[in-house]
């Protein structure tokens, strides 16, 4: 047997030997017993569930190295007793007996692990069931301090307890804390609004800033909060209640919730002009004479009219009243003429309010789809004129997302009419080419200013086609080239090939074309990991002038990320897969390469799944960040660009994924896999098995400790739930 073969055999045998050495079988057995006991309990077989767990507890040795075995056994027994008690009526004598048992068991767990959040939580719930509310509150407070991963849940329970005791201010503070711990959770925010129902009028002034922040991500919370404000203030503080009405109307319109029925949520005897006009309008949104007076008296209110009309018109369209919808939108756009200044403020990361561009776009679409509404195209012509005016206004205020959208829509209209360039002596902007060029300029501006890259292959392809039709050969060549790159970004290699063919048909002969051809080939079919190095694919590393560094980084991410999905099981290929997954991760998480298209989202899931295998963590659900949550995300988060979406979506990276990536970065892929036999990742911590660590592993752990990038704790401290 050769030395390498012996080494391979030893490596294959190593994990089993290592696991044996650390005696983890007791732990695995107790985990299995815990799962079985829970299944038995779910089927109502409480005695067998309990005896299963008691046997498991008996099997745990008394020494300190078996403390996690005892903790899990006691915790499960406590859980079973508490669960069974919670299904009994209060006058059942067995109930209090079970609760006392559970109390003893949880306290036994806390002797070994005084900072175990799950045990503190279950104990607090148990104490609440026994009416020992002060103890429950103390245990939840401690749980919040020691277990931030579930801090939101604990703070919510504590807030509920305090609210039930009418300690409104303290409850509110806990709901705020729960919201901070859990940025995507709606429940604590809903509870926070509920606390204001019990608050005196003077405290209501604190609510609007919170509701404003909630509008984009939690519109139903904002809605109920504004309804609360209006119902409490409409008689006493008319100005404040009208401000709440304005924000409520924005939320309701943007969500498409504004209907005649929804207006019945406002106080029935509130007859201020603001409300009366809204009620009259929603009764007949297709009217040629809308009742706006209060709503037209200020520019911010006039912009809200646009939002209201957009929603009302869509409802008419859903009811197949296309003509009424067209009238509704035309009337609203009339009232939008000569609006100056920005609309009402939007929460961070949310689109601007009352922009006429969307409404004009909807109307153009309506005329396009219902030619009978505009047989001589006169209305569409008028609309194009208005789109130009709107575009000028958007330029004035530097609203780049709108500017891009205006140029694209006008470009599409001219392209559909075959007007690629203006008639001689005519105004240049009245052409598809001009508009598409400026749409791409606006996109470039957004990339520079907002770090928001959009590939826009369809716009580039149309523009190239326009140049070709108008015999602008050099421009057509350049744009077909850019379209070929953009289609690769958008995971459409076949379209990329077509664009490259058109580039050549236009006489394009750059030496980079062969590199692009090779890249398209690589992207079109699975390639071996080995062929992705600098020798076999030099153009992937040394930037050809017409590619650009950013483009190559995006392509490298795709190529690397496509590797971890390959079902290869040899040791070498596992190392390679992990190494490539880390490189792909690094390109996105550290170098800021954007994910382009949903295909990249799938790749990102594969990359993180491969990294997490290092720490025995199953694949984790993606947490996407939008609007205010993205704007407030700490540090740089990976960004995803999807076709047709005006803003990027953020992707939160879990602490486990970050830890796994740091391990690979510090010790390398092969060593990370070796280390994987001795560690488990949980949140931002690495838990290491206690016993019989080989010296090589010990050295690797020392490297990790020295890097100070990761917190390392003994396995005995790993959370039991």
């Amino acid at each position: 047997m050769t030395r390498s073969a012996i080494l391979a055999v030893l490596l294959l045998l190593m994990p089993a030997a290592a696991i044996q050495a650390q005696n983890p079988e007791t732990m695995t057995a107790v985990q299995r017993a815990s799962s079985n006991a829970q299944q038995l309990a779910a089927a109502g077989n409480w005695p067998t569930a309990r005896s299963t767990m008691e046997a498991a507890l008996q099997a745990c040795n008394p020494g300190p190295e078996q403390s996690s075995c005892r903790r899990l056994s006691n915790f499960t027994l406590g859980y079973l007793a508490q669960q069974q008690a919670s299904e009994m009526s209060h006058d059942n004598s067995e109930r209090s007996q079970l609760l006392r048992q559970a109390d003893d068991l949880y306290k036994a767990v806390l002797v070994d692990a005084p900072n175990d959040g799950a045990t503190l939580n279950n104990l607090a719930l148990l104490e609440q069931m026994l009416g020992e509310n002060a103890n429950a509150a103390e245990h939840w407070k401690k749980a919040i301090d020691v277990d931030p991963v579930r801090g939101g849940q604990y703070a919510l329970h504590l807030g509920d307890l305090l609210l039930s005791q009418k300690q409104v201010a303290d409850a509110r503070a806990q709901f705020r804390r729960a919201a901070d711990f859990s940025p995507a959770a709606e429940t604590p925010r809903r509870r926070l609004v509920e606390t204001y129902r019990l608050a005196p009028d003077a405290e209501l002034k604190d609510l609007p800033p919170f509701l404003f922040q909630a509008e984009a991500l939690f519109p139903s919370v904002a809605r109920s909060g504004y309804e609360l404000l209006m119902s409490r203030l409409y008689k006493l503080q008319p100005a404040d209640s009208e401000q709440a009405l304005l924000r409520w109307t924005i939320v309701m319109s943007q969500q498409g919730w504004l209907t005649q029925t929804s207006l019945s949520k406002l106080p029935a005897d509130w007859s201020a002009p603001s409300v009366a006009e809204l009620r009259r309008y929603m009764a007949d949104p297709a009217t040629a004479n809308p009742p706006w007076n209060w709503w037209r008296s200020r520019d911010d209110r006039r912009r809200v009219i646009i939002e209201v009309a957009r929603t009302a018109g869509k409802q008419l369209l859903d009811g197949e009243q296309a003509s009424a919808a067209a009238r509704c939108w035309n009337v609203a756009l009339d009232s939008a003429r000569y609006i100056e200044g920005n609309g009402p403020p939007s929460p961070p990361g949310a689109p601007s309010i009352g922009s006429p561009v969307n409404l004009r776009k909807e109307l153009a679409l309506l005329y396009y789809q219902h030619p009978s509404l505009d047989p001589d195209s006169a209305k569409l012509n008028e609309l194009v004129r208005e789109l130009f005016m709107g575009k000028m206004e958007a330029y004035e205020h530097q609203r780049w997302p709108e500017i891009q959208e205006y140029h694209t829509v006008i470009g599409l209209i001219y392209a559909a009419r075959g007007v690629w360039e203006p008639a001689p002596g005519k105004w240049p902007p009245a052409s598809a080419i001009f508009q598409f060029e400026h749409a791409l300029d606006a996109a470039e501006h957004r990339k520079r200013d907002e770090n928001f890259y959009q590939p826009l292959p369809e716009v580039k392809a149309r523009l190239a086609q326009g140049y070709e039709i108008t015999k602008r050969v050099a421009d057509a060549q350049r744009m077909y080239w850019l379209a070929a790159l953009a289609y690769l970004d958008a995971d459409a290699p076949a379209d990329s090939t077509k664009m490259l063919d058109s580039y050549r048909r236009m006489g394009g002969a750059s030496p980079d074309a062969r590199s692009l051809e090779a890249l398209i080939h690589y992207r079109s079919q699975p390639v071996s990991i080995a062929s992705l190095d600098e020798v076999n694919a030099p153009w992937l590393f040394r930037v050809p002038p017409s590619f650009g560094q950013d483009f190559l980084q995006r392509q490298r991410f795709k190529l690397y990320a496509d590797q971890p999905g390959a079902a290869e099981s040899s040791a070498a290929s596992r190392n390679e897969r992990l190494a490539r997954a880390w490189e792909a991760y690094d390109l996105v998480a550290d170098k800021g390469t954007p994910l382009v298209g949903a295909g990249d989202l799938v790749r990102w899931e594969n990359v993180t799944t491969t990294l997490l295998e290092v720490g025995h963590v199953p694949p984790q659900p993606l947490h996407l960040l939008k609007g205010a949550e993205l704007a407030s995300s700490r540090g740089r988060v990976p960004r995803l660009v999807l076709a047709g979406q005006e803003y990027p979506i953020g992707i939160s990276v879990s602490p486990e994924t970050q830890s796994a990536a740091r391990i690979v970065a510090t010790v390398g892929a092969a060593n990370a896999l070796l280390l994987g036999n001795y560690i488990q990742l949980h949140a931002n911590q690495v838990f290491v098995r206690n016993e019989d660590i080989p010296s090589k592993i010990d050295n690797l752990l020392k490297n990790l400790r020295d890097s100070q990038a990761i917190q390392i704790s003994p396995m005995a401290e790993v959370p039991i739930a």
């Binding site: 009526s89 429940t187 139903s220 498409g256 996407l624 896999l673 994987g676």
Partner: protein, 297 residues
């Protein structure tokens, strides 16, 4: 004389038509996903059924997480949620592609037809109609992601509210206000309070039966404070009449005039659902077997 074969068929029909749901068991709804957009289907060719299958998995996962008061499945059921993406006759430029969602089929218990409104969610705006579809896996992920971003409150309000979640329950009090208990715990439905329900209540009197449709608010659990709660109703969700509108004072007076034992709940619907997205199950479960992985060369 009925043959054995006929008897089996009749029994089979009976079993399908009148399934008995145990307390806490949620009714099943079949989700049918139809990737209808003509131009996109043509582009996908033979990959279209694969995209449909994968997207359906993502849609089911989203619905079971966001609307867990029903059980969504791809298996055939009499209640159907139809999700259509795009239009079979669509095509061309300036064409927005939408999801359209509606409920149809029949209520498996009452046999009554189910009919809902339609909600539409944007998939791609008109200006992005021509954007490449990307890989089949990527497209399925895009469909799943767009679906996830839809307005689920509206979906419940206009569509899922057509499917009854139960056909039983108990009127536990009638004074000072009626209190109904439905056969689910808060954890079963992951329901936060207040959520809104509709109850079809049947009153049995000496002169016959009459029924009322009542809007109620789920706002607590039975037996959380008292000591005399019936064990079978322990921890079940209770609901009280919702504040107007609509005015339901006549119906409520009628309910209060009859002994609770003469009251029967025919159906319960969810009108407005707020999910308990933090700590749906208050008690934290012990961890099960930790999956192996990681090392091993």
């Amino acid at each position: 004389m009925i043959s054995k074969r006929c008897l089996l068929i009749l029994l089979g029909v009976f079993c399908v038509a009148v399934p008995v749901l145990r307390a806490g068991e949620k009714p099943a709804v079949q989700v049918i996903f139809d990737f209808a957009e003509k131009q996109y289907r043509r582009e996908l060719g033979t990959n279209a059924p694969g995209v449909e299958r994968h997207a359906l998995e993502l849609i089911l996962s989203d619905l079971n997480r966001r609307a867990p008061f029903l059980r969504f499945t791809s298996e055939p059921q009499s209640a159907v949620l139809r999700v259509r993406l795009g239009s079979p006759s669509g095509g061309g430029e300036m064409h927005e592609v939408n999801f359209q969602l509606l409920v149809e089929g029949t209520d498996p218990v009452s046999g009554k037809p189910l009919q809902s409104g339609v909600v539409r969610w944007s998939f791609r705006p008109a200006s992005a109609y021509d954007s490449p579809l990307g890989s089949p896996e990527g497209l399925a992920a895009e469909i799943g992601l767009s679906f996830q971003q839809g307005d689920h409150l509206d979906l419940v309000r206009k569509v899922l509210s057509a499917v009854p979640i139960a056909h039983d329950g108990t009127l536990v009090e009638k004074d000072p206000i009626p209190v109904w208990v439905i056969p689910f715990t808060q954890g079963d439905l992951c329901m936060d309070f207040p959520s809104r329900l509709k109850i079809i209540d049947e009153l049995h009197t000496d002169v016959g039966q009459r029924s009322h449709e009542l809007n109620v608010e789920a706002n607590g659990v039975y037996g959380s404070s008292g000591s005399t709660a019936s064990a079978s109703l322990q921890n079940r969700i209770l609901s009280t009449p919702a504040e107007p509108p609509p005015d339901q004072s006549i119906a409520l007076t009628d309910v209060r005039s009859i002994p609770p034992t003469s009251n029967k709940i025919l159906a319960v619907y969810v009108l407005e659902y707020h999910r308990l997205d933090l700590g749906c199950e208050e008690l934290i479960k012990p961890a099960g077997v930790v999956s192996g992985g990681g090392g091993g060369q």
